[in-house]
């Protein structure tokens, strides 16, 4: 009875009610959206690499090394000499290594020079191996294996030929049609940066760089080369080849710390070795402050939304005192009047939460391709997590608690007014 009255009364004040619901919905959407992006990005990052004990690169900050080598964010500042790589790779504790050579792009996708070991040893998610959707791994030095997104976006399939440009970015400095790569295989989707990577052989990469180096007649290419020492090109001997980083799998995980110290103290050149999991925690520490700020801002927006409801309900009270007197005269108890206002607050809050969730899911579904391509964030649109449920319950309880304020006021009014109609 009282709930039906509350709903009818809100319908009578449609405009305010709709605005209130919308503001709560937007606030809830923001709050849950921030939380969803936070947890999804963490999960997405954590699932990017698995089973790798160490990542080794030239001396740099651990976070930087992790970001460019595993997440393809940013660029390497220095390379590792091939002989340094071999020296570490041949140590007894090492089970496998995957050399990585980064810095080039193909139509906006990163190109990664590597070896067949990549397809054998690289693991992501929960110890998942890379699977080929079509074709096979490298067979020839001019073979390329594409990530799932690359194949879909650029329309390549196994057997097609493609041209790799030198330099990172959408626009490349030089293009060579002379030695096109053959698409040897396409990987299954992984939900990691692998999907947006073009994998080529180290030898193929060397060939691209060699051709670029011969572009003496192109002043722009020459100028770029002059200023980009980290991209020195090597054509003569394999031993002069440089890579940007390599992944190490150890025979025993327990050796990781001593191996890390060994790499960091390597005498041949300054190197940095990181434990991916530990460095990821460092990343979260850096990002954590921003996350907390975002969360605080979105929580404040929820408070503002609920405050809007409080204002709307409070301003309606004085004009509703006569309505309350009429209800009292037909037998409504002061508790009924209290419940009427509280019911309105609860109804507005719950409707706002429901609408906010619906909007969030629509937004996630609509924004997913953009998040993937622009931020490399792979969002799984699933059921709300327990934490998100808890957030929603907190908002709902806060809405009802805020509803207590106008409800209590009208309760006091109706006790004082009785059936006296006050205008």
């Amino acid at each position: 009875m009282i709930l039906a009255l509350a709903v009818k009364s809100l319908r009578n004040r449609k405009f305010t009610a709709v605005l209130t619901v919308l503001s709560i919905a937007l606030a809830v959407m923001l709050l849950l959206g921030v939380e969803r992006l936070r947890s999804e990005s963490r999960e997405s990052f954590a699932a990017t690499i698995s089973g790798t004990d160490l990542v080794v690169g030239a001396r740099s900050s651990p976070v930087h090394l992790l970001l460019f080598s595993v997440f393809r964010i940013g660029n390497a500042t220095n390379n590792i000499r091939w002989d340094s790589y071999r020296a570490i790779a041949q140590r007894a504790e090492v089970a496998w290594t995957i050399p990585l050579s980064l810095g080039d792009s193909h139509r906006g996708f990163r190109v990664l020079g590597t070896t067949r070991e990549y397809f054998e040893h690289f693991r992501f998610g929960r110890d998942r191996k890379l699977e080929l959707a079509q074709g096979g791994p490298f067979d020839d030095m001019h073979d390329a294996v594409l990530g799932a997104d690359v194949a879909v976006k650029l329309g390549y399939k196994s057997g097609d030929s493609m041209v790799i440009a030198h330099g990172a970015g959408d626009v490349s400095f030089s293009l060579h049609e002379d030695h096109p790569f053959r698409v040897a295989g396409v990987l299954e989707r992984t939900g990691t940066p692998v999907d947006r990577t073009v994998h080529v052989t180290l030898e193929g990469m060397d060939a691209v760089h060699a051709e670029a180096a011969e572009d003496a007649f192109d002043p722009l290419a020459a100028a770029v080369r002059a200023g980009a020492d980290e991209h020195e090109h090597h054509t003569e001997k394999k031993t002069d080849r440089a890579i940007t980083a390599f992944l190490v799998g150890l025979k025993s995980r327990g050796a990781a710390l001593s191996m890390q110290r060994l790499v960091n103290e390597y005498s041949g050149e300054p190197l940095t070795a990181i434990l991916p999991g530990a460095t990821l925690l460092e990343v979260w520490e850096i990002v954590g402050a921003a996350e907390k700020t975002l969360f605080a801002v979105s929580a404040l927006v929820v408070v503002v939304g609920l405050a809007g409801m409080l204002v709307a309900l409070l301003t309606s009270l004085s004009e509703r005192r006569r309505e309350m007197a009429v209800l009292r005269s037909v037998g409504a108890r002061p508790m009924h009047i209290f419940g009427l206002i509280l019911g309105e607050a609860a109804f507005l809050t719950l409707l706002g939460i429901a609408l906010g969730i619906a909007a969030l899911y629509l937004g996630l579904l609509a924004g997913r391709p953009w998040l993937e391509s622009r931020l490399g964030l792979f969002i799984v649109v699933g059921w709300p997590s327990a934490y998100e449920f808890a957030l929603m319950i907190v908002v709902a309880v806060a809405g009802v608690l805020i509803g207590l304020i106008p409800a209590y006021r009208i309760y006091r009014y109706s006790l004082a007014d009785g059936m006296t109609i006050r205008i």
Binding site: M1, R11, R13, V330, G331, R333, G418, M419
Partner: protein, 258 residues
């Protein structure tokens, strides 16, 4: 139509002890002040209204009439004395029981703004049935459903036109609104109808027509009517007219409500 048989209440059987059986309202030695201490606003030695009686209560505004009505309704309780409605000493009931008693046995019509703006005409009339199962049951018995009974009452009050029923209550004229309020006060056959200056916002012609309809329906439902007004010209239309100052010995100031 025979509705003269004493109604049997399922919820709160009126207690007959101590009151005369045919009295709907019986006050003795009632004193009340808003501050909780003398001077009193209300000091009534005795007042009795019989079943089906139409009583005109006249007095200037601020003389405590509204306070008396709040006492009769059980919204407030007297500091001294007893108020019996249908034999029930309502001062002895708890707050919830008084609200329930009011819903079951008393219909109200106010001076103006009687209606809930967001409810339809019929929903407004049926409102007491939502708070009183007893009145809902009586309305159901009378009209088949409470809604049908509401329409029947509205028809009796010349408000049965389907076009009028569909209009938002805020678009009704004041006279129409008062008739909707009268139908609401009468639905489910409460034993007592209290009208607080219900005609003061009506012009003379409409006032007479409204009173005519109200009397007819009160008589049909065998409801006692306590009609409060400062307009002495209406007094001859009633069974009995009471000058409020004659029964109220209070010399206290006008009620200064919170």
């Amino acid at each position: 139509m025979d509705v003269s048989a004493p109604a049997t209440s399922q919820t709160l059987p009126p207690q007959r002890s101590g009151g005369s059986p045919e009295a709907v309202v019986e006050l003795s030695g009632v004193r009340f002040s808003w501050s909780g201490a003398p001077p009193f606003v209300i000091d009534i030695g005795s007042l009795r209204v019989a079943r089906g009686e139409r009583v005109f209560l006249r007095g200037p505004s601020g003389s405590g009439k509204s306070t008396l009505l709040s006492l009769l309704a059980g919204v407030i309780t007297p500091m001294e004395g007893t108020i019996r409605v249908l034999g029930q000493n309502i001062g002895a009931l708890g707050g919830a029981a008084r609200d329930r008693f009011r819903a079951d046995h008393i219909g109200f019509i106010f001076q103006m703004l009687n209606l809930i703006p967001y409810l339809s005409v019929v929903e407004n009339v049926c409102l007491p049935c939502g708070f009183s199962p007893r009145r809902k049951e009586r309305a159901d018995r009378e009209g088949g459903t409470a809604q049908a009974e509401a329409v029947r009452l509205l028809e009796h009050l010349d408000m049965g036109d389907a076009a009028v029923l569909r209009r938002p209550v805020t678009e009704l004229s004041v006279g129409q609104q008062q008739r909707v309020a009268a139908a609401r006060a009468l639905i489910g056959a409460p034993e007592l109808v209290i009208a607080d200056e219900p005609t003061s916002s009506l012009d003379a012609d409409r006032r007479a027509a409204f009173l005519d309809l109200l009397f007819r329906e009160c008589a049909r439902e065998q409801a006692a009517l306590i009609f409060v007004s400062h307009d002495a010209s209406l007094a001859p239309l009633f069974d009995r007219a009471i000058q409020f100052a004659d029964i109220n010995r209070a010399t206290g100031p006008a009620p200064a409500l919170v």
